[in-house]
């Protein structure tokens, strides 16, 4: 903790003094290249194998397009639900006092620790035809969304929580004393302060939902054109020996996701600038 604070203190100074900057940048770029860029480059290299014509043909096959539309759509809905529910949970965890809060706080991260295939199996047992509640939403898009909500829950909560902790309640009190209602305080004071964090959480949740495989492979039912998501479609292409097709769809999906993430990032920066101005 102490070292964290020290780093935080040093940060602005590090920006002006170049001493450590070069090394840090070097390590960052090197690490990023090795761990992220290299595999991505290899993937694109694999997709390029059949030529541009074949790439486009593979990526725009009706099954592939249907799976991609479903994946992106469900991921977007999942991210939006997370934005609302995640912020609410973070709010309760920071501002409310209740017994067992520490436990609830720890439970938030559990979806990350659970192997996602186990999550899928459990959700199937709960919401499948033989489930104890008599609701059968397995093998539908609702079931798919539910599985994704489960695995992406921590992102927005964990992004918003620290910001909310740091948020000065004096501002809210001042606004309230000036006659703002509680909704007004939320809309004008709290929400603008939380928005960048919410957006980071939303971006993470969206990206994770796009790529998720384990949690959805059981509960979605994998019906082509109906409930088959891209990750399962890609898996099928690999199993059928069509590596080029798998790589093509992956690359297109990554490109679209990158576009969405860049947009979210740009919006966040614009908001931050807009705010401080």
């Amino acid at each position: 903790m102490a070292s964290n604070a020290a780093v935080a203190e040093r940060l602005p100074a590090g920006r002006s003094g170049r001493a450590g900057g070069g090394l840090a940048r070097g390590v960052a770029t090197g690490y990023l290249s090795l761990v992220v860029l290299l595999p991505l480059a290899a993937l694109i290299w694999g997709a390029r194998a059949g030529g541009a014509g074949s790439f486009w043909h593979e990526a725009t096959r009706p099954e592939a397009v249907a799976a991609m539309k479903l994946t992106l759509g469900v991921a977007a809905v999942c991210a939006l639900v997370n934005a609302v529910a995640g912020t609410a949970i973070a709010w309760v965890l920071v501002r409310d006092r209740f017994r067992g809060k520490g436990l609830v706080d720890a439970v938030i991260d559990l979806p990350f620790a659970l192997p996602t295939i186990v999550a899928g199996l459990t959700l199937l047992a709960l919401y499948g035809p033989g489930g104890p509640f008599g609701i059968d939403i397995a093998f539908t898009r609702t079931g798919l969304l539910l599985a994704l909500l489960f695995v992406t829950l921590p992102f927005v909560v964990r992004a918003v929580q620290p910001v909310l902790l740091e948020l000065d309640t004096e501002m809210e009190e001042a606004a309230a004393s000036l006659g703002a209602g509680s909704f007004g305080v939320f809309r004008r004071i709290i929400f603008p302060n939380l928005l960048p964090a919410i957006l980071s959480g939303v971006a993470l949740a969206f990206a994770r939902a796009v790529g998720e495989f384990g949690a959805v492979v059981l509960i979605s039912g994998n019906l082509p054109f109906k409930t088959e998501v891209s990750s399962v479609y890609i898996f099928g292409q690999l199993q059928s020996g069509n590596e080029a097709g798998a790589a093509a769809v992956s690359v297109l999906l990554l490109a679209i996701s990158l576009g969405v993430l860049l947009l979210i990032g740009a919006f966040r920066r614009w908001r931050t600038r807009h705010d401080s101005a």
């Binding site: 033989g130 093998f139 039912g221 994998n222 019906l223 054109f225 399962v232 099928g236 059928s240």
Partner: protein, 326 residues
């Protein structure tokens, strides 16, 4: 920091001792997942024989296609046990398995099974033959044939049974269209399909006899029916070129056809391929059994069947999925 170095040293020592043991003869077995329990019995029995004395095993189990691709990409393997021929042929193409891998008395086939119908307790929907699967309101569970190599046995059993009943190729393909309209979900693997069926989805599950027996053993409330016309599933085992250089691996490969090993397969629900072993186990003999090489039924081996039915774009199954999806 010091602790890390000590830990690293420990790992190095462990690795050293492991490789030391392997000099006595270690065999890398790469297999598909369902026969794991059978190998769990066969390996200790083999280690008690003179040929297997002192050998150690590195075992790897997973989906057949994944395992074949892992070996093709460099995973060490002396003996490969896969769920269908094309997975072995992938390794032949990569030069890792000799072309004549199937040149033994059993054509490289170590165990058999058949495609069966798993139904609910008491068979409430009275499902007996292939015609019952496409009756109104019947839901059939079978894995997606593009994600599950094993699901292809089911599809070809359905097609072959129609041909065996005297239908033309066109009529048999039409049956597949009809059948897949009764498939509400397409799980990614045979085991997933079993989980989903056990959860209560569907009226009938298409699977292998050994999976049906496994389900019974696990206490899933099901029974199974063997249709009179069905496909014989043959699962291959091959020695890789590295395995051919190891006497212990060769001895193990041979041992798989011994009475002890064949009994171990039989006890896990697989049909033994060595005559005489099957006695004492109940395996119903379907009167109209055919194989993937039954040319009269339009089945000309996996290579041709895969190209015609399971090409990811132009295959008959790809067209069926598209027709149903839209």
């Amino acid at each position: 920091m010091k602790a890390i170095w000590i830990a690293l040293l420990g790992v190095a020592l462990l690795a050293g001792s492991a490789s030391g043991a392997s000099s006595g003869g270690s065999i890398d077995l790469v297999a598909y997942s369902t026969p794991k329990d059978a190998y769990g019995k066969i390996i200790p029995a083999f280690q008690k024989t003179s040929g297997g004395n002192g050998t150690s095993f590195n075992q790897s189990y997973g989906a057949s296609g994944d395992q074949a691709r892992a070996v093709a990409a460099g995973q060490a393997a002396d003996v490969v046990a896969l769920s269908l021929d094309p997975d072995v042929n992938l390794l032949v193409q990569k030069g890792l398995v000799p072309k004549k891998w199937a040149a033994n008395a059993h054509r490289g086939i170590v165990s058999d099974s058949v495609v069966v119908f798993v139904v609910r307790d008491g068979n409430p929907k009275k499902i007996k033959g292939w015609g019952d699967l496409v009756k109104p309101g019947i839901q059939v569970i079978t894995p997606n044939p593009f994600t599950s190599g094993g699901a292809r046995w089911n599809v070809m059993a359905a097609y072959g049974a129609q041909r065996r009943a005297g239908k033309t190729d066109k009529q048999a393909v039409a049956y597949l269209y009809k059948l897949f309209r009764h498939v509400p979900v397409q799980p990614s693997s045979a085991r997933d399909a079993l989980s989903i069926f056990a959860q209560g989805k569907g009226d009938v599950l298409l699977t292998y006899e050994n999976e049906a027996k496994y389900a019974e053993k696990k206490g899933v409330h099901t029974e199974y029916r063997t249709p009179k016309a069905t496909l014989l599933i043959e699962t291959p085992v091959a020695l890789t070129k590295s395995g051919l250089r190891k006497p212990a691996a060769k001895a193990f490969y041979k041992y798989l056809w011994s009475a002890t090993a064949q009994k171990a397969f039989a006890s896990q629900g697989y049909r033994p391929v060595v005559k005489g072993v099957a006695k004492g186990y109940k395996f119903y003999k379907p009167p109209r059994l055919f194989t993937i090489n039954s040319a009269k039924l339009g089945l000309n081996g996996w290579t041709k069947v895969n190209r015609r039915f399971f090409h990811p774009e132009k295959g008959i199954m790809a067209k069926i999925e598209r027709a149903i999806g839209k």
